[in-house]
Amino acid sequence: DAGITQSPRHKVTETGTPVTLRCHQTENHRYMYWYRQDPGHGLRLIHYSYGVKDTDKGEVSDGYSVSRSKTEDFLLTLESATSSQTSVYFCATGGDGNEKLFFGSGTQLSVL
């Protein structure tokens, strides 16, 4: 398996609280991604990064922000969590933007 670690693996939080999810990779991949997966919707792109401090929005970016200060780390922040952000979040990495992605094991986030 590619060296992708997501933390935490599970989190329960309350509406209105800030939440940060972390993705750490040891593959030195240039591209990193945050997806959410919900029943009936499949995998939807939240944000992605194509280099240190270079990020772009995906299709469901509202309510989320990201940061990438080092090649190996990509953080996803929910500034004020809402119940609609209850989901499974996956981090993925890739080398050149047009090759296979490697996925982490996911973070189950529940916002009560």
Partner: protein, 110 residues
């Protein structure tokens, strides 16, 4: 708008009963089409990449093909361990943007 549609949503097969999964796409400037397998509680795992119409890739009981509008994942003589959700994804004109379909949940029973 770029879009990926997979069918059927769910498929039940008896062990040994071959079938195909479909992925149709509308994307400007296709760069690549990807197939992934996802087991419950895990992240997707890469299976194949196809880059141009007419291309085919094989791995064990799986064979992926690509036309200008769709891709098929053929499963020959499936076994229960092939049970999983199969995801299709494409990259288009924007490098790095990968669009996923909703997947086909495959169940193979003995």
């Amino acid at each position: 708008e770029d879009q990926v549609t997979q069918s059927p949503e769910a498929l039940r097969l008896q062990e040994g009963e071959s079938s195909s999964l479909n992925c149709s796409y509308t994307v400007s400037g296709l760069r690549g089409l990807f197939w992934y397998r996802q087991d419950p509680g895990k992240g997707p795992e890469f299976l194949f990449t196809l880059y141009s119409a007419g291309e085919e890739k094989e791995k064990e009981r799986l064979k992926a093909t690509l036309t200008k509008k769709e891709s098929f994942l053929h499963i020959t003589a499936p076994k229960p361990e092939d049970s999983a959700t199969y995801l299709c994804a494409v990259t288009g004109s924007t490098l790095g943007r990968l669009y996923f379909g909703r997947g086909t949940q495959l169940t193979v029973w003995p």
